[in-house]
């Protein structure tokens, strides 16, 4: 096929992808973009050109060794529901934008760790991208016209332009938003589409080769089984092969989480956690379909070409060989799709890391000018765009310089082993809170160096020096340092060997340094948050143990630099509302610090966010002991403190209640004593009178008749007095205990008042006190006449008692109140003492000097009166602020 035709096809194809991405960005909320199938298909970015072409190559040369790379993810998939969900949750909450951010945050926003992860990812991914470019370039060559096309300079190398186009695509759709934790719907949609295309095209070619070029799988098997080295290709050789398999499966298990592009699609682009449920079975199914025909294509290719052709491109060579250019073009496009999705997603992920974890925290932070959020966000986007171009172009040159000589499969495994160096700090850090940044950093560096030494260095030196001395005899000829057989382990394949040793040392360093180093409080804090994700919601904001001083206004200024004044204000308002804080809170607390850091993390990465916030915060160091105490004991303490406080409050309440009750009891006791005293005195007086008179009469027979009559009259009088008193006491007792039933009748109050005045008229006349009935109108209402009569009589006789003889005047009056009748008895006597005012109606109450002043009456009169009035649901009181005398008022409600 003419190479220009291919270029045109490529351009059309890319245009379609641009359009799809554009549509998806336009309809971000559509369910076509947000569903578990798109999510699962985007995960299939795992199957890059390496899978598309490389698997067949391995199958042809080493049999089923291509499988472990897919078995690892298949084993990992069911665990996603636990493991990936936890990672997704943490990432969403902290607005994590890359795996570098994730790891650096886990170890306390460690800036250096973030940068280190970024560098490892760069080293791991650049060869991988270059591998993709190599595949495209080579397939392009095969498809156009073998041998006729040899690029000599960059300028006329179509791969370079394809790389540029991809950079434009990634830069355009990857940096729509400054906040890198935002979703990239356009890119995800195209990745999903490409995943369908590459699978379909691969299946098509698989079916074509198996069923059209050959007569099905058994035909191929019968043909291949008679070739020389068939047995070696289809069976496990020795125990060593078992080790190789084991390490390869472990390797692919890890990298399906750790590859920057996998982290990007699986974690950062995840919309809903429930999408995972579909992905855990659909993704393994996808991988199975993809690998179904690999072995048959490989055998078919071997049968057709022997060992004369590059086995990695059998899928392309077979249809061309049989003149099916169209099929070959489809295969090319499938491989192209696999390549595009991998390159775009990887560069996107890497550019975010480079900008947020390398460029911004190391040198660009000061460049962000206050109060210019637009400019600042332009800066951030520019950094990312430049990063994307640099990454792709670097990958291109890497391809020109190194990759041409290597197989796709070899390059892919180098990437895997390098990326796997993140595994200990990533996985163990999720479940072990002692894992420290020191351990993570040292483990990664050591593991990385070993991986370079055992995997990258040998072939690099070989291709530069043209000798394999290094590989053959080891560093400086030391046997134990042979790169492919470190310390004498010579039975593993180079990648498995490199993986084994790098991981062993990495793990050892990580664990050792984590156990021996204490780490700082901030680190421990985040560790706790990551590990204890069950209580994640609770831990969220308050978990950050933080001591220091910060002003809300300073923090707001920092936020405004990146979010703009409006968004910063809004974010803070949301925060204040959430925690029910006042809008004009001055001092920031740990929650606000944490909240602000998270807000910035999406834009500039967690390490930079921490540095920026720290620049306006006067933070005090807390010792680790303090942190541990706070973290581990706070929950218990809070609970028990709360309980103690409640109990103590309860107790003090009880105590005060008890005190009150006691005082009341004592006062009642006193009242009772006083009452009994009074009653005793009142009872004794008439009895004394009676006893004395009787004795006198009894012992004096010749007493004059008139005197005798007077004595007898006295006895009679005292007896009556005694009877009245006893009646009063009983009456009061009845009222007090509520045993009295009122005999309510509708009647005229006027008549009752007249009766009452009549009953005391004799005493009044005797003392020459005038009694006036002021209101002579009738008024009908319902009451117990005997009882109200008692009330009036009591009040009247009381008034007479306090009036002076001859000048005394008593006025009885009544008027209508709102809902009751108000009856008053006023006198011009000596009035009521101030100190007695509130107590005159209290039962048994008598003046201070009651012990010595002879009370006129039983002391029960007014108490009984009040009881009766209250029984009628009325009120009784003494009027205040009157010039002289006393005015007592009581009410009877109308009902």
């Amino acid at each position: 096929m003419n190479s220009y035709t291919i270029v045109i096809i490529i351009i059309i194809y890319l245009a379609v992808l641009f359009y799809i991405a554009f549509l998806a960005e336009q309809k971000r909320q559509s369910k076509w973009v947000n569903n578990p199938y798109v999510y699962t298909l985007s995960l299939a970015v795992y199957c890059s050109a390496w899978t598309y072409y490389g698997s067949v190559g391995i199958a042809a040369n080493s049999g089923i060794d291509f499988l472990p790379i897919y078995l690892g993810p298949v084993i990992a998939a069911p665990l996603w529901i636990v493991l990936l969900r936890k990672i997704i949750r943490i990432s969403k909450h902290h607005k994590i934008s890359s795996i570098a951010d994730f790891i650096s945050l886990r170890y306390g926003n460690n800036r250096f760790l973030g940068a280190l992860v970024t560098i490892i990812c760069l080293f791991g991914t650049l060869p991988y991208i270059s591998l993709q470019l190599k595949a495209v370039s080579e397939t392009f060559a095969i498809l156009s016209d073998e041998n006729s096309y040899i690029s000599t300079t960059v300028i006329d190398d179509s791969t370079f332009y394809i790389a540029l186009l991809l950079a434009i695509f990634a830069a355009f759709f990857g940096t729509q938003n400054t906040d890198a934790s935002e979703k990239h719907k356009g890119i995800v949609a195209t990745v999903a589409l490409e995943s369908i295309l590459k699978l379909v095209f691969f299946l098509v070619i698989g079916i074509y080769i198996t069923f059209f070029l050959f007569n099905g799988t058994s035909d191929i098997y019968e043909n291949i089984s008679v070739t020389d080295n068939f047995k070696a290709l289809t069976s496990f050789g020795q125990v060593e092969d078992g080790f190789n398999w084991f390490f390869m499966i472990a390797l692919s298990f890890m990298v399906v989480f750790l590859l920057p592009r996998q982290f990007q699609v699986a974690v950062l682009e995840n919309n809903r956690e429930k999408h995972l449920k579909k992905a855990i079975w659909l993704f393994p199914l996808y991988l199975f379909l993809f690998n179904m025909f690999v072995i048959f294509i490989a055998w078919a290719g071997k049968l057709t070409f022997g060992s004369s052709a590059n086995a990695e491109y059998y899928t392309l060579l077979l249809p061309i060989e049989h003149g099916h250019t169209f099929l070959a073009t489809l295969v090319f496009l499938g491989g192209f799709s696999a390549m595009i999705s991998m390159v775009v997603v990887s560069t996107l992920a890497l550019s975010t890391m480079v900008s947020n974890n390398l460029v911004i925290p190391y040198g660009f932070l000061d460049k962000f000018i206050k109060n210019q959020p637009d400019r600042n966000s332009k800066y951030i986007k520019a950094i990312r765009r430049v990063s994307i171009f640099i990454i792709i172009i670097t990958a291109y040159f890497f391809y020109i310089l190194f990759s041409k000589a290597l197989s796709l499969y070899a390059i892919g495994l180098i990437s895997f082993v390098i990326i796997a160096q993140l595994a200990p700090s990533f996985f163990i850090g999720l479940y072990w809170n002692r894992g420290s940044s020191k351990g993570a950093i040292i483990g990664m560096i050591v593991g990385f160096c070993i991986a370079i030494y055992t995997l990258v260095l040998p072939f690099t030196l070989e291709s530069y020096l043209g000798t394999d001395d290094f590989r053959q005899y080891g560093l400086m000829g030391i046997e134990a340092l042979k790169p492919y057989a470190l310390f004498g382990i010579d039975f593993l394949s180079p990648p498995a060997h490199a993986f084994f040793w790098s991981m062993t040392f990495n793990l050892f360093c990580y664990l050792t340094f984590s156990l021996t180093s204490k780490g700082n409080y901030r680190e421990r804090n985040y560790a706790e948050m990551f590990v204890d994700s069950k209580n994640f919601n609770k831990l969220q904001d308050s978990a950050l143990v933080w001591k220091g001083e910060a002003y809300v206004s300073d923090i707001k200024n920092v936020l405004a630099r990146f979010l703009g004044e409006k968004r910063a204000t809004r974010a803070l308002n949301i925060f204040f509302t959430k925690y029910k804080l006042s809008k004009d809170t001055q001092l920031a607390d740990a929650r606000l610090i944490n909240f602000s850091e998270r807000l910035l993390t999406g834009s500039i990465g967690s390490a930079s966010a921490k540095i920026l916030i720290a620049s306006v915060v006067k933070e005090e160091q807390i010792s680790l002991v303090e942190v541990l105490k706070i973290l581990e004991e706070s929950k218990e303490n809070i609970v028990s403190n709360k309980m103690l406080l409640e109990k103590s409050n309860e107790l003090s309440q009880l105590t005060s209640k008890l005190k009150e009750a006691n005082e009341e009891l004592m006062s009642k006791d006193r009242q009772k004593d006083e009452f009994l005293d009074t009653v005793a005195h009142e009872l004794k007086t008439p009895i004394t009178g009676i006893r004395a008179a009787t004795e006198v009469i009894m012992h004096d027979d010749d007493m004059p008749k008139e005197i005798k009559a007077q004595f007898l009259k006295n006895i009679l009088q005292d007896s009556d007095r005694l009877g009245r008193l006893i009646h009063n006491i009983l009456d009061f007792e009845k009222l007090e205990t509520g045993g009295l039933q009122l005999d309510l009748k509708h009647q005229d109050i006027q008549k009752t008042i007249v009766k009452a005045i009549a009953s005391i008229s004799q005493i009044a006349a005797k003392k020459e006190v005038e009694v006036v009935n002021n209101n002579v109108h009738s008024f009908m209402l319902s009451y117990d006449e005997d009882r109200i009569l008692q009330v009036l009589t009591n009040l009247l006789s009381n008034a007479i008692k306090f009036c002076s003889s001859k000048t005394g005047k008593i006025i009885v009056d009544y008027k209508l109140g709102n809902d009751c009748l108000e009856i008053s008895v006023a006198d011009n006597g000596k009035g009521i003492l101030d100190e007695d005012f509130h107590y005159i109606f209290d039962k048994f109450y008598q003046s201070q000097d009651q012990n010595t002043r002879k009370p006129e009456g039983s002391g029960l009169g007014l108490a009984i009166t009040r009881q009766i009035v209250e029984k009628h649901k009325g009120k009784i009181w003494a009027k205040k602020d009157i010039k002289n005398g006393a005015t007592l008022v009581f009410t009877i409600p109308f009902k």
Binding site: A680, H681, K684, T685, P686, I687, T688, G689, R691, A692, A693, E695, V696, H699, D700, I707, Q710, F711, N714, Q717, D718, D849, N851, T852, R853, K854
Partner: protein, 120 residues
């Protein structure tokens, strides 16, 4: 002739005492409360005073204190006759200088013998 002052606000009780002491040959003076009694004491000096405690205006304790404070009166024998029979009341009365403390209700005969015993 012996003179006795009866201070009480209960007329019925006073009447019985007055009749009995008159029959015994006493000259009897009567006051209804402390102030009346003190007024009366300006003109008559009795041999003995029979004093109630619970009375209006000036009570028995006050009256006794005033009597004991007066040079011309303090030699007069004073007997309390009251319904207050608590130990604390009795102690208070005797401490103030009362010669006897008798409680109500009482036997008239007993009162007479107590008084006679006191003044002879």
């Amino acid at each position: 002739m012996k003179k006795i002052l009866i201070v009480d606000d209960e007329p019925n009780i006073v009447m019985s005492l007055e009749y009995t002491f008159k029959k015994q040959g006493f000259e009897v003076f009567i006051a209804r409360d402390g102030s009346e009694a003190l007024e009366l004491l300006k003109h008559h000096i009795p041999d003995v005073i029979l004093l109630d405690i619970m009375m209006p205006n000036v009570d028995g304790y006050q009256t006794l204190s005033l009597i004991k404070a007066s040079e011309s009166l303090k030699h007069i024998k004073v007997v309390f006759l009251t319904a207050k029979n608590k130990v604390s009341d009795i102690e208070k009365g005797l401490k103030l200088g009362a010669d006897k403390y008798l409680t109500k209700p009482f036997s008239v005969k007993k009162i007479v013998s107590e008084i006679l015993e006191l003044i002879t």
